[in-house]
Amino acid sequence: MGKRIGMENALAAAEAAALCRPDVIAAYPITPNTHIPEHLSDIVAEGRLDAEYICVESEHSAISACCGASGAGARTFTATSSQGLLYMQEVLPIVSAMRLPVIMAIGNRAVSGPINIWNDHSDIMYQRDTGWVSLFAANGQETVDMVIQAFKIGEHRDVMLPVNINLDGFQLTHVVEPIFMPDQEEVDRFLPPYKPFAQLHPDKPMSMGALGLPEIFSEAMRAKDEAILQSKKVVLDVWKEWEKQFGRRYEPIESYKTEGAEILLLTMGSMGETAEVAVDELRKDGMSVGLLKIKLWRPFPFEELRKAVRGAKALAVMDRALSVGGPGGPVFAEIRSALYGEPKKPRTLNFIIGLGGRDVQVGDFIKMAKKTASTKKVKPEDAYEIYGARE
């Protein structure tokens, strides 16, 4: 039986990864996710986990070593943030194309320019097209749960794709929270040993990473696309199984007090918890407002989103990243795309908040909700607003 503990979320993520019995861990430290590889190396050094811990010399080599290890049939884990994630970007689409279930924890941090070590989502937003399944954790419990679920999702024979778990740097990684940590027996029951689809071994020689000429490239992409679309079904199944065994429920888009709500706020990551407090306060004041929290980012839950916003008059999308020179916030762009064909859709506003670790408070959510309520018509020029940037 697992037990309730108070632990820093990054250490908890490391403990959760260790419970999944990875065989090879290759990680390079970068603030704010450093505590994850550090704690994993502690666990290996203490002999609690039989794994090869490779202190690679860069993030690019970290993901490459994970590729090689996963190709040889090992369960692999790595962790990074921001610049490290961008450094390994060359290899990220290759991991998913090669169908290797590498699991990565990302402590979301702002992408440089100017260099900033604090939290925002810009690093993961650069990876939208890499073909990885992406989960967003809003608190420590979700982090632990999602790390364990990620292994099961990625290694499923219908998926065979890498998965990343996103937790806000500092806001989550360095925060101590009460977490119900499952024990080894429970995790072993949930997550069976890794049986790779194919592995590098002389008993059955095969080649991985072949050259794809134009004659087959489109077909290969279609196959990869199909895999990530099918992964949604597996994610839902794994979440159902999780609820059955552990009692905690997960949905691609979690609704908070949205029944009959006219105004909806939409968040991803830990700021959802702050938004919940704001929603409670606003409802006390009589505003008909609710909150949607996205947990499954890739593959994007189009169906669930359309269902969730049906009937609402206005939707405020809170982005923690900016698609520079593009359509505002990345989440906003996907939402607009999802709602494009809907005959009746809420008017949608976009607030870019919390960039580079700027604190987002209950008062900010209240202000944004009130602005959403009072904006009767959205002009294209007002399509997005970098909230809080001093004029």
């Binding site: 194309a97 090669m98 169908r99 290797l100 065979m160 689809f197 194919a198 059955k204 020689p205 095969m206 080649s207 991985m208 990473g209 072949a210 794809g212 004659e215 087959i216 489109s218 077909e219 290969a220 279609r222 196959a223 199909e226 895999a227």
Partner: protein
């Protein structure tokens, strides 16, 4: 049985474009690249195997009697075997002849 040259549908592409048929490159016959081909004179051949050793294609094989010859499906006509042959038992002749 050789597989079709290109998988026709996307369902036929192996996951991750993995290739499970070791050595299947042999389905592609590089012999059409040749402009010259090697001819062995077994009277001069001393059966040393140096031509077999130096062939980049690995298409030179030993027959039952110990003499050597190139598999013309793959021989690209580079001429290394003729150049390295100690007793000069191999000559390169034009393909058209």
């Amino acid at each position: 049985m050789t597989e079709k040259k290109w998988p026709e549908t996307w369902q036929e592409v192996n996951p991750g474009c993995m290739v499970f048929r070791p050595g299947s490159a042999s389905e592609y016959h590089t012999g059409s690249w040749r402009a010259k081909r090697p001819i062995w004179d077994n009277a001069k051949c001393i059966k040393c195997g140096v031509c077999y050793m130096y062939c980049p294609e690995g298409c030179i094989t030993e027959d039952k009697e110990g003499f050597f010859g190139a598999n013309l499906d793959y021989c690209k006509g580079c001429g290394i075997c003729a150049h390295e042959c100690w007793p000069a038992a191999i000559t390169m002749v034009n393909e058209e002849d």
